[in-house]
Subunit: 329 residues, 2 copies
């Protein structure tokens, strides 16, 4: 691999001039520019990012923390992040900590080590204290997961309002006994969605029944199956389910199907996230859609602005209720 020095020698100029040609700086005579460009071609020279980055003390790499590659929820957000990043000459490094704290430390250190210029975290299990400390010296943005009283800018939706809307939709269809499959409520979004669930019930004078509220430890399809089994064993059986993730909802839907329940008549189901599968279930799944691509795009913009030293404001995005067969007669 040729270096800038070799190009300079071949073109009969100094390395400074070659650098100026590479970076399109002003003041380089077109005759020398041509000589240099020829030398670059002849030697098939490619500038080393290592040298450049060391000098500029930037890596032009952004870290994106997710919880697990297997979660289809992330893919559109990532597309949004990536499009904006690449358009601005940043690459992204996708990191799934997979609830492995050691690996998470590795990733967080990359930003201290100058191997990454900033972080977008979408990982709900991230160590928020470490992250907050890191945020004092390095640009960090939260996407979709955020924390009250943590001074890190975020982009997210209004989870309380979205859950409220989903549950209200079920009520309007005539359901009064609505189960709620929630994730572990140590996560803010789970608490917020629960608030929305309860607000909708209260608005219609339906009492909250704790027997119908389930908190899962994970978001696998299988957890949804398990919960639906529990639901079907209840004496006073709900006629509808609102799940905080499509994967849970799809598992629940499947189990209801297997048990021969008519959907939505005997069991209506609403999910959350609008993952691509949600349109491929039988029946198709009603779900809350977040503007995922847009959220990713915005998060990337916020991060890059922050890297540039600008101050950024948190964003709340609009959600949408997508009504499909699982709540449609």
């Amino acid at each position: 691999m040729a270096t800038i020095q070799e190009v300079a020698r071949k073109a009969g100029v100094s390395s400074a001039t070659v650098s100026r040609v590479l970076n399109n700086r002003i003041s380089v005579a077109s005759s020398t520019r041509i000589k240099v460009e020829q030398a670059i071609k002849d030697l098939k020279y490619e500038p080393s990012m290592l040298g450049r980055n060391l000098r500029n003390s930037e890596s032009r790499l952004l870290l994106v923390l997710i919880h697990s590659f297997s979660n289809p929820y992330y893919s559109e957000i990532i597309n949004g992040i990536e499009d904006y990043s690449i358009a601005n000459d940043y690459n992204i490094l996708l990191c799934d900590a997979d609830s492995n704290p050691e690996r998470e430390t590795t990733f967080l250190n990359m930003v201290k080590n100058k191997l990454a210029d900033g972080i977008i975290s979408m990982n709900p299990t991230v160590d928020i204290h470490k992250l907050t400390e890191l945020a004092q010296k390095h640009p960090i943005i939260l996407c979709s997961e955020y924390y009250e009283e943590v001074p890190i800018p975020y982009v997210a939706i209004d989870n309380e309002a979205a859950a409220y809307r989903a549950v209200k939709h079920l009520i309007k269809l005539g359901n009064e006994k609505i189960a709620f499959i929630n994730f572990d409520e140590s996560f803010l979004y789970a608490r917020q969605r629960r608030k929305g669930y309860e607000r909708a019930l209260k608005e219609f004078d339906i009492p909250v029944n704790d027997e119908w509220i389930f908190n899962t430890q994970g978001l696998d399809f299988q957890e949804g199956v398990q919960v639906m089994r529990k639901i079907l064993r209840l004496e006073n059986r709900p006629t509808a389910v609102f799940a905080v993730s499509d994967t849970l909802a799809i598992g629940a839907l499947k189990e209801a199907n297997v048990r021969g329940l008519k959907i939505p008549d005997e069991m209506a189901v609403v999910g959350f996230d609008n993952i691509s599968f949600s349109n491929m279930t039988n029946p198709t799944l009603t779900t809350v859609s977040q503007p995922m691509y847009d959220m990713g795009h915005k998060a990337a913009r916020m991060l890059i602005d922050k890297i540039k030293g600008q101050s950024v404001e948190s964003l709340i995005m609009d959600h949408e209720l997508i009504i499909r067969e699982s709540t449609l007669n």
Copy 2:
């Protein structure tokens, strides 16, 4: 951010000694080691990877080329790649070219630019000529997608045998009219799977009917739906379908369901890949499983071996037929 120089000054030693402490080199007195470690703590020093990598001319970053984040097929492979890589102090950079040749070039240049030490490509739409050229100077491994007559080591399964096995399974169940939903046959794996399909038919003296062979341009659920619609319109209608990807199979399954066909009696379905959702459809999907985690693990090992300068051999892994409800009465 403190530099190694500042640590050296604070500890009253030279930067060379600090470096030796950091890298656990021999010959540093334990008294000075303690002084240096104290200084590192006091200054909260973290070594800059940029400086280190420049000096060592390595980035310890591996590129993983995929076609699109949205494809669930990759996630387990990526887990395998990542586990091995991280255990060997490499990080991975996930790149979806998303059939954007410009972006692909960006990624391939990273290895020329020394921003990455090697590449694992799983992208079937990659520009194989560029990749082959790059492979002459840089470590590259193909995973799951490979090319005959291209001298790049790969890890993959025997696609012909896997398809043969899937189709034979359908025949043994009594099906003689078996449709085949294949991807674009410009891809080697599509040609190989077709060969397997035809071999199974021939073995049982069933003529190949071109009317029952469909080539899709993409792998979306929706394409599977479309094909099943075409199938159901045929006068001489097949009683079974073998699709080369689960996403296609799930689309086909859904459409057959919607049209009220009994599965598997009136329409048996086999997919390929064993994505997690294939166990959540109704009925669940029979599919060919590749040892994905293992393939990723092996691919990473091959790449890192190659980076170390060792020579590596291509690998063919075993597949497995997972029989579920879509072919089970």
